[in-house]
């Protein structure tokens, strides 16, 4: 049973990457905001269909939690930015940098756990990500330099 969940977890990642790559490619034809619009309409129709099939009509959250709907607004911006960086950096480079930003920023957002035992893990995790990002940037600069030398 565990293996099935692991496979579904990996498939989840494949779907995320597939969605990001398709949007990036569409933005090359339609522009980043149009691609974001088409992406959200497609997702909305798909989820509406799912809600119908699963017989679970969408529920409204209490009005006081209106701020949470801001997630959708941020999503529209995120998809547009992501499409631009995928076309400019290539999908793997874009994905690895997005993951870095996501991991570091969610550490700031997560105020629920103040477990001192996990502090060391957090420091090690942040350090590895920052070292990885630095090496990534140095490699990119190096390859740009090599390309220039080859052109000369």
């Amino acid at each position: 049973m565990m293996t099935i969940y692991i496979l579904i977890g990996l498939l989840n990642g494949v779907c995320i990457a597939l969605s990001r790559i398709l949007n990036g490619q569409l933005s090359g034809y339609q522009g980043a905001f149009k691609a974001s619009y088409i992406n959200h309409i497609g997702g909305f129709c798909f989820l509406s269909l799912m809600a119908l099939l699963l017989l679970s009509p969408p529920q409204f959250a209490p009005a006081s939690e209106g701020l949470m709907y801001a997630g959708g607004v941020i999503g529209a911006l995120y998809v547009a930015i992501n499409s631009v960086v995928i076309t400019k950096l290539g999908s793997t480079s874009a994905i690895i940098l997005v993951i870095s930003g996501q991991m570091l920023f969610s550490l700031l957002l997560d105020t629920s756990s103040h477990n001192p035992d996990s502090l060391l893990m957090k420091i090690a995790g942040v350090s590895l990500i920052i070292i990885g990002m630095t090496i990534k940037e140095l490699l990119r600069q190096n390859s740009v330099k090599l390309q220039k030398q080859n052109q000369e």
């Binding site: 969605s19 398709l22 997702g43 909305f44 989820l47 547009a80 992501n82 930003g101 957002l109």
Partner: protein
């Protein structure tokens, strides 16, 4: 020392937006269900992208536009993106939990993206990856997994 690439910075910023979006959407999901939260987020995201598109105009963006028609497949990016909601809701409540879902999601994304770029699938530019290219990827994945498991 060259300047840090503008698009690399934009990708990291995109990751921060993604973390904020997931944070807000998961709070919305607490009050309702994952499916309704994502349905609202996509609906509001579509409206936001449409507003941005009408203010900024279709051609204002950083990507060079290809005037030819985009392959139909490129319009479907929203569907795998929305499907992740269903997949994640299965794995989060299973034995692998939230941490496993996040960690496997990262790995799945990277494996799929590496394969697509290596073989030039989905019209991506073909790339060959050397061992050195994997150094930052491995560091960032390890760092991310440490941060994911430090939260529990």
């Amino acid at each position: 020392m060259q300047k840090i690439n503008w698009y690399s910075g934009m990708a990291v910023f995109g990751g921060c937006l993604l973390a904020l979006m997931i944070h807000l959407n998961s709070q919305l999901a607490l009050g309702t269900t994952g499916l309704s939260a994502s349905w609202f987020a996509h609906g509001i995201g579509a409206i936001t992208a449409w507003i941005l598109l009408s203010i900024l105009g279709p051609k204002r963006h950083a990507v060079e536009i290809d005037e030819r028609k985009a392959p139909r497949l490129f319009y479907l990016g929203g569907i795998p993106g929305a499907f992740t909601v269903i997949l994640a809701s299965i794995t989060v409540n299973s034995s692998i939990g939230l941490s496993g879902t996040l960690a496997l999601g990262l790995i799945g994304q990277l494996i799929f993206s590496l394969i697509c770029e290596r073989f030039g699938w989905l019209q991506l530019e073909k790339k060959t990856f050397s061992i050195v290219d994997f150094v930052p990827i491995v560091l960032i994945v390890l760092g991310s997994i440490l941060l994911i498991y430090a939260r529990v």
